[in-house]
Amino acid sequence: MIVKIKSGAMLGVEMVPVDVEVDVSNGLPRFELVGFASSELREAKERVKVGLNNSQLPIPVSKITVNLSPANLPKSGTSYDLPIAVGILAASEFFDYEATEDIFMAGEVGLDGSLKGVPGILPMVSQAKKKGLKKFLIPYENKDEAAFVEDIEIVPLKDLKEVFLYLSNPGRYTSEYLCRDEGETSAVKPGDSGPHADFIDIYGQENAKRAALISAAGFHNLLMVGPPGAGKTMIAKRISGILPPLTRDESLEVSSIYSVAGLLKEGKGIITERPFISPHHSMSDQALIGGGRIPKPGAVSLSHRSVLFLDELTEFRRSTLDLLRQPLEDKCVTIARAYGNYTYPTNFMLVAAMNPCPCGYFPDRQRCHCSEPEIARYLSKISGPILDRIDMTVEVSRPPVDTIEKHGEESSKDLREKVVKAREIQKMRYAGKPYAMNSELYGEDLNRFCRLGKPEKDLMAKAFSSLGLSIRAYHKIIKLARTIADIEESEAINVSHLEEAISYRTINRKYWN
C-alpha cells in the first residue's frame, strides 16, 4: 500500500512542500530511500528502523520504498525522519491512512524512538498554513516556536509511541496537545543578549546619545569614531533597545531566520526583542553573509530588522566589508547553489565603531603621535562604497573620570518613545509605499517628501561652497534632516534640522571627501 505524508524542505527562509511517499509491498525485505537525499538524510533509514523497533512498533518484513517528492529537489537534514516513520506505519496499516491525511510532519527520530527538534519549524509551519494545512505533528522541543502561528492545531509529541497513539485514536489526544491559546506566546530571546542594556547607565555623551536617537528613528547607518574606552560599544549595545518593539510580522520574519539557523532552542520560543549582533573582525566571509554547502544565514541576516554592530571597523578585511554592499543596498542576500538560490532578508541597521587613527587617540596630541599620512592610510581601509552607505558619523570622546559612576537623565524607555513617535510619523507619510523609513528614501520620493523652502535651499548652497560638501553627501543630509524634523515633530524640514544633519558629516568631510 502507498501513503503520502506532507512535509517540507527549506530553501533559505522559503519552504518548498515535499511529499514523503512510502510504499510497503510484498517482496524481498529491503528498505530503499530515493529522492535526491543527502548523506545525513539517507541515514534516516537506520534511525527510523531502530527507532520504530525500540518503540515496540516492529517494522514489517517486506519491501519498503520511500520517495521524497519532488525528487529533483535536493534535500538534507533530519526532519524527514518523522514523516518516513509515520509513512511506514500507515502503509503497513498500523492505523488508518486517513488519520495522517493533511497533517504536516517534521522531526528527527532517535534510536530510542524519541522525537528531537529540528531547525526551521517556524517558517515551515507558518508557510504550510498559508498553503492550507491546519494540523502539524512536530517534536515537543519545537512547540514554542510553532505556537507563534495562530489559528492552527499543533501536536507536539515526545516519541514515536505517542505518535502511534495519537494517530490510532486522534480524538483522545487532540485536547491535550493543542497548545496555542490566543495571545499566549512563550517568548524569550535567543542567544545570550539578556535584557537590553539601558541608556540610563551612560552619563554625559549627550552627543552620542543624540546620534543614537536619530539613527534609530530613521534606521540610519551610523559610524562612531572615538578613542578606546570612549564608550562606543556601550552605546551600540543600547541602540537595538531603543528601536521600536518588533511587530508580529517582523517577529515572525526574524524568528524564521533564527529557526532556519537552528538558533531557536527549546524553551526559548520566538524572538520578540530585536537582537544585537556583534561579530568579531576576524569573521569569515561566510559567517558574515551566509553560506556553506547548504547555505545558512550569516550575521547580516541574523541582524535583520535590528542592529549589526561592527566594532573596530578598520580591522575587518576590506574584502569582507565590501561584501556588505549588496545586503545594504538590496536588503537581502541571495546565495546561489547548483540546485537553487537561497535568499535571506538582510534589512539591518549598520552601526560601526572605529578609532580615529592607528594609536586611537587623535586629535589628542598629548598621546597621539600619528602623522597625517598614517592617519589617512588608516582611514582609507574603509572603502568608499561602504562609506557611501553610512548616513551619519559621530565623534565620541572619552568621558571625564568623575562622571563614570553617575547616571544619565534619559533612559532607553524615554528614547524609545521618541523613536516610536518618529516612526509613526514616517509610517503615515509613507503609507502605501514599499518602505516605511527615512533611510530608505530614494530618487523622486526623496524630493517629494523632503521639500526644502527658500532659506533651506540657500543654506545648502552656502554649505556646499564653504564646507566643500560632496554631491553624494547632499541626499544623506536631507534624509537625515527629515528624520531630525520627524523627531521634533515638525512637518517641514527647516534650517536648524539641516544644520544639525550637516554636522554629522564633519569627519567624512575631513578625511573621506
Partner: protein, 380 residues
C-alpha cells in the same frame, strides 16, 4: 661668463660624483675648471692620491665617473626643465650661503634666487601642526611677507608649507629648499605650492636633479635653510624634532633664532618652549622679529593676542547671543563636541546637543569656526 657656461656641463658631471663637497671644492681649486678634472690623465689623479690630496674611495669614484661618455645631454635635459646649476664660484651664488662654514659646492635652482638686498626669515616646525601652530605659521608667513621679508622653508607638510603658502598669499616671496632634486615634488600633496614657488619664488636644492628624497639628505637641506636666512623662526615643535637640527645649524652660522611660545601643558609646544628656555628670542608678534632684522625701525602693529581680543569684542556685537557664547568658549586648539557642550552650557544651560550642532554648522559655514575632523576651533 661664457667661459663659465662652457664649464657648466662638467660642473653637473662633478656634482653627481659621490664624493664630499669639501673634496669637490678642493679639486676645483686645484684644477680651476671641472673640464680639466674630467680630461685629467689617470697618472695625474694617481699622483694626487699618492700625496694624499684625495683618498682611495674618492679616486675610485672619480675614475668610474670619468668613464661617462656623454657630458652634454644630461646638462641639456636639465636646462630644458628650467633648472640651473650654480657652482660655489658662480657670482650668482648667494653670498650669505657662501659665508657659512662648509658651503655646498653646488646649488640647483628653479625660479628665482634670494636677493642680496632683502631680508629672509626661515619659518620651520612640525609636520603635524596643531591648529595653534597653523595659525602661528600663517600669521608670521603672511605678516612678514607683507613687510617685504622673504620666507624660506623646506616645503614640508605642516608648518613649512603653511608659512610659505601664507607668504605667497600676501604677495611676498618664498623659497623652498628641498631635500631632493628640484625636479621632484616632495611631499606630493604640496604640488600646488611646488608649482607656485617656481613662479613666485624659487626652488633650491644642493642635490642634482633626479635625487630621490632620503631621510639622510634632510639635515643638509636644513643647513641650507638656515644658511640662506637672516633669522630662523620655529613656529611649533615637539621636544624631539627635526627643527632642532636647523636651529643648531642656525646658531653655528650665527643666525638669530626665534621661537613661538606655547602653553606649558601642550606637548606640541615643548620644543619651542625649550628653545626659549635655552635663550631663543620669543616671537609673540612680527614686531619682535622686525625689531632685530631691521634694527630699530619698528613699524607699529597689533600682536596676534590683541588681534584675537579685538575680533572677539567685535563679534560680541556682531553675533547673536547664542552664537557668540559658543565662539567665546572655543580656543585655538580644536575642542571636542562633548567638551564644547559642557563649557557652553555653563553660560547657556538650556543649550541642547542638537542646537549646539546646528549652531556649530552655522558658524562653520559663516567662517567663524573651523572643524578639524575631531573637534572645532576658533577661526581667528
Amino acid at each position: 661668463m661664457d667661459n663659465l657656461s662652457n664649464e657648466l656641463p662638467f660642473h653637473l658631471w662633478l656634482s653627481e660624483v659621490h664624493i664630499k663637497d669639501e673634496s669637490k671644492i678642493k679639486l676645483l681649486t686645484y684644477f680651476g675648471d671641472p673640464s680639466k678634472l674630467f680630461f685629467a690623465k689617470d697618472d695625474e689623479l694617481k699622483a694626487l692620491l699618492e700625496v694624499g690630496f684625495i683618498n682611495n674611495s674618492e679616486a675610485e669614484r672619480l675614475f668610474a665617473a670619468k668613464k661617462q661618455s656623454d657630458i652634454y645631454s644630461p646638462y641639456l635635459a636639465m636646462t630644458k626643465k628650467g633648472i640651473r646649476i650654480l657652482p660655489l664660484s658662480s657670482p650668482e651664488y648667494p653670498e650669505k650661503l657662501r659665508s657659512i662654514p662648509g658651503p655646498p659646492a653646488y646649488l640647483f635652482v628653479e625660479g628665482l634666487l634670494p636677493s642680496m638686498s632683502k631680508k629672509y626669515v626661515a619659518i620651520i616646525g612640525t609636520r603635524v601642526a596643531s591648529s595653534y601652530g597653523r595659525k602661528a605659521a600663517e600669521y608670521f608667513g603672511f605678516e612678514l611677507a607683507k613687510k617685504g621679508i622673504g620666507i624660506i622653508s623646506g616645503m614640508a607638510r605642516g608648518i613649512d608649507g603653511l608659512a610659505q603658502r601664507a607668504a605667497l598669499r600676501a604677495g611676498g616671496q618664498s623659497f623652498g629648499i628641498l631635500g631632493c632634486g628640484v625636479d621632484i615634488c616632495y611631499p606630493n600633496q604640496n604640488r600646488d605650492l611646488y608649482d607656485s614657488l617656481k613662479e613666485k619664488g624659487g626652488l633650491i636644492s644642493p642635490f642634482p636633479p633626479g635625487t630621490k628624497p632620503q631621510p639622510y639628505l634632510f639635515p643638509e637641506r636644513n643647513r641650507i635653510i638656515s644658511g640662506l636666512s637672516d633669522a630662523v623662526l620655529v613656529a611649533e615643535a615637539r621636544l624631539k624634532s627635526g627643527s632642532k637640527i636647523t636651529v643648531d645649524f642656525a646658531l653655528e652660522q650665527g643666525r638669530d633664532v626665534f621661537a613661538v611660545p606655547g602653553r606649558i601643558t601642550d606637548p606640541m609646544s615643548t620644543g619651542t618652549n625649550d628653545l626659549i628656555k635655552q635663550g631663543a628670542s620669543i616671537a609673540d608678534s612680527i614686531d619682535s622679529i622686525l625689531e632685530v632684522l631691521l634694527e630699530g625701525s619698528v613699524p607699529a602693529g597689533l600682536s596676534p593676542a590683541e588681534l584675537t581680543e579685538r575680533k572677539l569684542e567685535a563679534l560680541r556685537d556682531e553675533l547673536p547671543y547664542e552664537q557668540f557664547g559658543i565662539v567665546n568658549v572655543l580656543e585655538d586648539m580644536p575642542m571636542g563636541l562633548d567638551e564644547i557642550y559642557k563649557e557652553a552650557r555653563k553660560e547657556n544651560p538650556s543649550l541642547s546637543v542638537s542646537r549646539l550642532r546646528s549652531l556649530l554648522t552655522e558658524l562653520c559655514i559663516d567662517g567663524y569656526v573651523t572643524d578639524e575632523g575631531g573637534g572645532f576651533a576658533r577661526c581667528f
